[in-house]
């Protein structure tokens, strides 16, 4: 840095270079570590006819008050005082240029260069920075513009003035003749454009200033020196009344000084005549609320002083003026909104009177008189400047001497900064570039709340003020107890709010008086301020109405809130966290499970097995009795059905015995459900159980059982099954169709038309509930629903009210909700692994007007082999599919397992496997929820019912059996019927998808065809009945499609000649 100085000098014009040199010299003189932009600015200002000074005067909105520049000088002097002094004691060394100043110089250089026309742009070093450019870039420096703002100058405005003068004097740009002189160019009245310093975050400026001085402001405390300086001033003959000017607590120094005076720490020599009997009057606490009464009060004060001086004889009187802002500002809280102007003028008048009165006192008792009256006061730069502007004679009349106070290391966040005022307060008032902005109304209250001084908690509603006072009193009481100095004024009840300030100061002063260490006193103050802040915040957050004058003055409450449960959002979020521990709910439900869920105890499963084994046995036998295939089929089907019903009967009995169920309604529901969804027997019985239980108020969910709504969760892959179950249930419960709402984000089928634009699923649900509070609402694919919907549903389950997207809530009434999801618990997953038992594929298969025909063929001569070969033929393709399906029901295989019956039921009979798993999973599936099942859903619903994956082969087999059985009853035992694989598949899927059940369809469609066929057969040569085989086979597609029916309405009979 140091090395670069000569280089830098070269880039400057002589005037600019000389300014820089002066600045360096000044910094050296002040023993500063670095030369900063502040030094340069001060140097520039120092010249009485200086360019900068003129520009400042011109730019100032209040036109040119001669005192304004004094103010500016004062501010700069304060700012320079603040700068850290260098540790090196060598005063002759030139302080190096700080980074900020270097940046400013570079900026100036860049601007200067830009000033030249493009074609003659010169190499960087050839450009000489002229004084104006230097000034402009110095003004750009944040630290400088901050100081200027303190003196209520806007650096951008000044800059604009200079730039304007530059432009208007453009011919002279390249040759600036006058060094440091006033350039006599016409300066247009300031336009005062909104400069960036208006917008700048004050904290950034501070940071900028910190960077500018190169060192953070954490300077070692120099309070002792300050006190000494103040005392020095007090001993002077002239200008002996010090006003401490600074931003951060000059009061502390005043207090220290007063403490010294009162405790007579000062030797006789130091204060000379004052010595023995001194008296301190704290003016601030004596001040009345109405500023208008101040002059009168001061008169009284005069009498008091007179009395004191008279009585003590040799003593002196110190009047602590406190913060001078009482002279220029209306106490906050009064001047809030209305009538501000009137009061402002009142303040001015009162202030003038006060100044005159005080001046009289000073003249009488001060240096001019007996020399026994001293004034002490504090002010921020701004306040002091205002005093000077409003009361120009004050400085002289009162015999004041301003003492700049170095700011301490800032305690971030503890003391609100003046800078905040800067933006919202001062700058708006004085420059008002934002006048059109409606929120200027905010300024007064905000300013009040941000005030640096401990000005009570103005701007709060009375309630909060009272609470605050209470707490403050408590705090002080505690404090005093601690101090073992229990003075009585601790618990002062409710004072008028203007007294807050006086009170706190008073207390502080008391603490001082009691010659306590500074730290404690600071502590009280700090805590008081914290309290104020706390209550202000509290008031703002609790009583926003009170603060309505502003658009949004709500202040932040950074204090942590008490923990009051989790919000919905959090819960919602938690569900998405895979790591979340099991809910309490789930835990308890697990414990409870053995009790209320005898619905699916393992027992029936065990019982059911023998039933199945018998089936196996029968089937096994049939293999040997070739002649009675039809019978075997029949038996098989009977057994199949029997085992189902017996199982449920068992369950039912069990439940009934436990009096958990209303027998009639259970029976009715179960019957209705099994009729429609016969392939999901277990699910049906589970649904029936749950529904009956819930109706009786025994639902698993619920704290109090009087809620009418019911929530079922259908899990598993069988889409159609779930839908049909819901339909059947709805029919039984509310004798209407269920309202089906798909929550899936994108699913093209069927419901897409319901997806009305602008209508969310939430709204549709809400509407459905509103329309019929008795209905059954099926919410499909909850697993695909978005978080919002899931959250709402969860909330609805908990609270019994459903929020729509407008935030309105609808009571759920007696609505039964059926949620469906595709989740499959882990232990069932293997079943569907690789078995994408493609429901869609099936749908496609059955779709589109397929036809069936019955044809008669001659059986090959050797019956048995032919039958076998037939089986083989049909077996082959199935074997292939078996590979895919992983499960099948095969007559032959089943028969084979007869030998090893032990594990046979597990090994080959899917039926058994299924049932077993089904039972297990109903409990286990819940106990070991797979990752994809949202636990909170499982917890909240009344019951989760598992739908096992559709076993299509079982379906086919049973259809094939029933068709054969029906055929044999018509055609007699002689003729065999053979259902072609493709046809069977289509029938099965048709039945599965459609509304008609297989028996109905057979009676309606197949049986007439059988009769017709029989007729033909009878009419033809009847010789070898048993050698004939009838085939039910696929007959291509017809054109006419009926979308409603999945099954063909007729079966063509083709009696071929054989």
């Amino acid at each position: 840095m140091r090395a670069g100085l000569s280089t830098i000098q070269q880039t400057l014009t002589p005037e600019a270079a000389s300014v820089l040199n002066h600045s360096i010299a000044e910094a050296g003189r002040r023993n500063h570590g670095q030369t900063t932009p502040l030094h340069v600015a001060a140097t520039l200002l120092a010249s009485p006819s200086g360019f900068l000074r003129q520009a400042c005067i011109k730019s100032h909105p209040n036109s040119s008050h001669p005192l304004q520049c004094r103010a500016l000088e004062l501010c700069f002097s304060v700012a320079l005082e603040r700068l850290p002094t260098s540790q090196t004691t060598n005063p002759s060394s030139e302080p190096p240029i700080s980074n900020a100043l270097m940046a400013a110089l570079k900026r100036a250089q860049a601007h200067q260069r830009r000033g030249y026309p493009e074609q003659q742009q010169q190499p960087l070093l050839a450009v000489k920075v002229e004084l104006e450019q230097l000034i402009i870039s110095i003004l750009d420096d944040p630290s400088v513009s901050r100081v200027m703002r303190e003196a209520s100058f806007s650096s951008p405005a000044v800059k604009a003035t200079i730039e304007q003068s530059l432009n208007s004097a453009s011919p002279a740009v390249n040759s600036s003749p006058i060094a440091l002189g006033f350039r006599p160019s016409p300066v247009a009245p300031s336009a005062a454009p909104a400069g960036r310093s208006l917008y700048l975050n004050p904290r950034l400026q501070q940071a900028g200033a910190g960077a500018g001085s190169g060192v953070q402001l954490g300077v070692p405390q120099q309070k002792g020196e300050e006190v000494k300086r103040v005392l020095d001033i007090l001993m002077r003959k002239k200008k002996r009344n010090p006003i401490l000017v600074g931003e951060s607590e000059p009061e502390a120094t005043v207090r220290e000084v007063l403490r010294k005076i009162e405790s007579k720490e000062l030797g006789e020599g130091t204060l000379g005549i004052v010595g023995l009997n001194t008296h301190v009057i704290h003016l601030e606490k004596e001040l009345p609320a109405e500023r208008a009464q101040i002059p009168a009060r001061l008169k009284e004060l005069g009498d008091l002083i007179e009395a004191r001086i008279g009585s003590t004889g040799s003593g002196g009187v110190f009047v602590n003026l406190g913060d001078l802002k009482w002279l220029v500002e209306q106490p906050v809280g009064f001047g809030a909104v209305g009538g501000g102007h009137v009061q402002q003028t009142n303040v001015a008048e009162a202030g003038r009177a006060a100044v005159a009165e005080m001046g009289r006192l000073v003249a009488k008792f001060g240096e001019g008189g007996s020399g026994r009256l001293w004034l002490l006061g504090t002010a921020t730069c701004e306040t002091y400047l205002r005093c000077q502007v409003y009361h120009p004679s004050m400085e002289n009349d009162w015999d004041l001497q301003a003492v700049p106070i170095t700011s301490r290391a800032p305690l971030p966040g503890m003391f609100p900064r003046l800078g905040t005022n800067g933006i919202l307060g001062t700058s708006i008032e004085s420059l008002s570039p934002l006048k059109p902005f409606p929120t200027t109304a905010i300024a007064p209250p905000r300013r009040a709340s941000d005030n640096t001084e401990p000005a009570g908690i103005s701007g709060c509603c009375p309630q909060c003020i009272q609470s605050y006072e209470q707490e403050l009193a408590d705090m002080l009481k505690d404090n005093e107890k601690l101090d073992a100095e229990s003075k009585s004024e601790a618990a002062r009840p409710s004072l008028p709010q203007w007294l807050q300030k006086a009170k706190t100061n008073n207390d502080n002063a008391k603490v001082v008086d009691q010659s306590q260490c500074n730290g404690q006193e600071m502590n009280v103050k700090k805590r008081t301020q914290e309290l104020q802040k706390k209550w202000q915040d509290a008031c703002l957050s609790r009583h926003p109405k009170f603060h309505q004058q502003s658009l949004s003055t709500e202040r932040i409450v950074p204090t942590p809130f008490s923990m009051r449960g989790l919000c919905n959002m959090n819960l919602l979020g938690a569900q998405l966290q895979p790591k979340i521990p099991l809910n309490k709910n789930l835990g308890s439900s697990l414990q409870l499970n053995p009790n209320p869920v005898p619905v699916q105890p393992p027992e029936p499963a065990v019982r059911q097995q023998p039933g199945l084994v018998t089936t196996e046995l029968v089937l096994g036998q049939t293999k040997e009795s070739d002649t009675s295939t039809e019978e075997t089929h029949k038996e098989r089907i009977n057994d199949f059905l029997n085992c189902m019903s017996s199982e449920t009967r068992d369950k039912f009995d069990e439940l009934k015995s436990k009096k958990l169920l209303d027998a009639d309604s259970f029976k009715r529901i179960l019957k209705g459900l099994t009729e429609k969804v016969w392939w999901q027997q277990d699910a049906a019985s589970a649904v029936a159980t749950t529904v009956t239980k819930c109706k009786l108020g025994n639902g698993k969910r619920r704290q109090v059982g009087d809620k009418g709504d019911m929530w079922l969760l259908f899990l598993g892959p069988d889409r159609v099954g779930k839908k049909k179950m819901a339909a059947a249930l709805s029919e039984l419960v509310s004798s209407s169709n269920p309202i089906v709402i798909s929550l899936a984000q994108r699913r093209g089928d069927g419901d897409s038309d319901v997806h009305l634009r602008g209508k969310t699923a939430l709204d549709r649900i809400a509407e459905a509930i509103r329309r019929n509070p008795q209905s059954v609402i099926m919410l499909e694919d909850i697993n695909e629903a978005n978080v919002l919907i899931r959250g709402s549903i969860k909330r609805a389950m908990e609270q019994g009210r459903f929020p729509d997207s407008h935030g309105r809530e609808i009571s759920l009434g007696n609505v039964m909700f059926i949620l469906t999801a595709n989740w499959l618990p882990e232990d069932l997953r293997y079943l569907s692994n690789g078995t994408p038992l493609d429901e869609e594929k099936l749908t496609n298969l059955a779709r589109g007007g397929w036809q069936l025909r019955l044809s008669v063929a001659k059986r090959a001569s050797k019956r048995r082999p032919s039958w076998l070969s037939e089986e083989d033929r049909s077996l082959k393709p199935r074997k292939e599919t078996n590979l895919n399906l992983g499960l099948s029901f095969d007559l032959n295989e089943a028969a084979d397992t007869e030998e090893d019956r032990g594990d046979g039921s597990l090994n080959s009979s899917d039926l058994t496997v299924d049932h077993e798993d089904n039972h297990v999973l109903h409990n286990v599936g819940l106990q070991t929820p797979s990752t994809s099942v949202p636990r909170e859903l499982l917890d909240s619903v009344d019951d989760a019912i598992m739908f096992k994956p559709l076993n299509f082969d079982l379906l086919r087999a049973s259809f094939s059996a029933s068709i054969s059985k029906r055929f044999s009853t018509i055609a007699g035992n002689g003729i065999a019927i053979e259902v072609q694989e493709g046809a069977l598949e289509k029938i099965a899927s048709g039945v599965w998808l459609g509304q008609t059940n297989i028996t109905e369809w057979m009676e309606k469609v197949l049986v007439p065809s059988f009769h017709q066929l029989k007729k033909t057969l009878n009419s033809s040569a009847n010789d070898h009945e048993s050698s004939l085989v009838v085939r039910l086979e696929d007959d291509g597609y017809s054109d006419r499609q009926s979308s409603e029916e999945w099954l063909p309405a007729a079966v063509r009979v083709v009696a071929e000649e054989y």
């Binding site: 975050n201 940071a207 949004s552 979020g573 407008h806």
Partner: protein
């Protein structure tokens, strides 16, 4: 680099002649625009910055008083524009920044040629004749939860706001920037946002506004977009996105970026 630029991590990229300013919303930083910036650099000088309080800014600069209203942010924005000597720009504001932009535009309409609002809301609280989507008690709960455990709150809030599950990249991204914020600052910022009521100033806006809104947004109901459209003082246009979530430019850039570009390139027809 100026002090403002540095504090707000201002980045100016691109080689165009016109300025476009991208301002992020709550819980994010300028990285939220990563998908769209490459599309703009050829034509614009893209100004990116971080709002004070974002995880990437120095918490020391966060003045709780200054940022207790949106104006503090608006001043920041103006300070940035001043420092960059931007005399005119297109402003793209997401969420709260859209409102910050409008506030700034009321003060300095000359600086803004148009404002593109993504997921903006002038008020989040419901009112007698206004539906903002939140009740005070919701917010209180939210703030409580936030104060109680910020991390847990973040992991819950992120998927809600983005409208995806915890695993999705967008949610991860948002959680990251969200959790970067200092908890007390985040709480303060969110309170400022949720308690703000900018409805009264909408009529003072003269700059054309393009309102872009997800069709499903936890924070901003669709009706709010309509409200903005009807109450903004200047001309405005609404486009509903098929995307979901409060941060569509992050969660579904494929559908959202083209829409944004369209609105950037074309003005509202008169």
């Amino acid at each position: 680099m100026g002090v403002v630029e540095e504090a707000h991590n201002v980045k100016v990229v691109g080689s165009g002649t016109r300025f476009i300013v991208l301002a992020h919303g709550f819980g994010t930083d300028q990285s939220v625009w990563k998908h769209i910036v490459p599309q703009l650099v050829d034509e614009f000088r893209v100004v990116l910055y971080d709002n004070m309080g974002a995880g990437t800014t120095n918490p020391e600069y966060f003045d709780f008083g200054r940022y207790s209203t949106l104006q503090g942010y608006a001043y920041d924005l103006l300070a940035i524009l001043e420092e960059l000597r931007v005399s005119s720009c297109i402003f793209v504001g997401h969420s709260v920044s859209a409102m910050i932009g409008t506030v700034a535009s009321i003060s300095r309409p000359d600086l803004f040629t148009k404002i593109i609002m993504v997921s903006a809301s002038p008020r989040y609280l419901n009112d007698a004749d206004y539906f903002g989507g939140f009740e005070q008690e919701d917010l209180d709960q939210l703030f409580d939860a936030m104060a109680a455990n910020y991390k847990a709150w973040c992991s819950g809030f992120a998927p809600m706001a983005v409208g995806g599950d915890m695993e999705s990249v967008a949610v991860q991204e948002f959680s990251r920037t969200l959790f970067n914020m200092r908890p007390d600052i985040a709480l303060s910022v969110l309170q400022t946002i949720f308690q703000s009521d900018m409805r009264q100033i909408l009529s003072l806006v003269t700059v054309p506004c393009h309102i872009i809104q997800s069709k499903r947004d936890l924070a901003v109901p669709v009706v709010v977009a309509e409200y903005l459209h009807q109450h903004l003082g200047g001309s405005s246009i609404v486009e509903l996105l098929s995307s979901e979530g409060h941060l569509p430019q992050l969660s579904s850039p494929d559908t959202v970026i083209p829409v944004l570009l369209k609105h950037i390139h074309y003005d509202i027809a008169t």
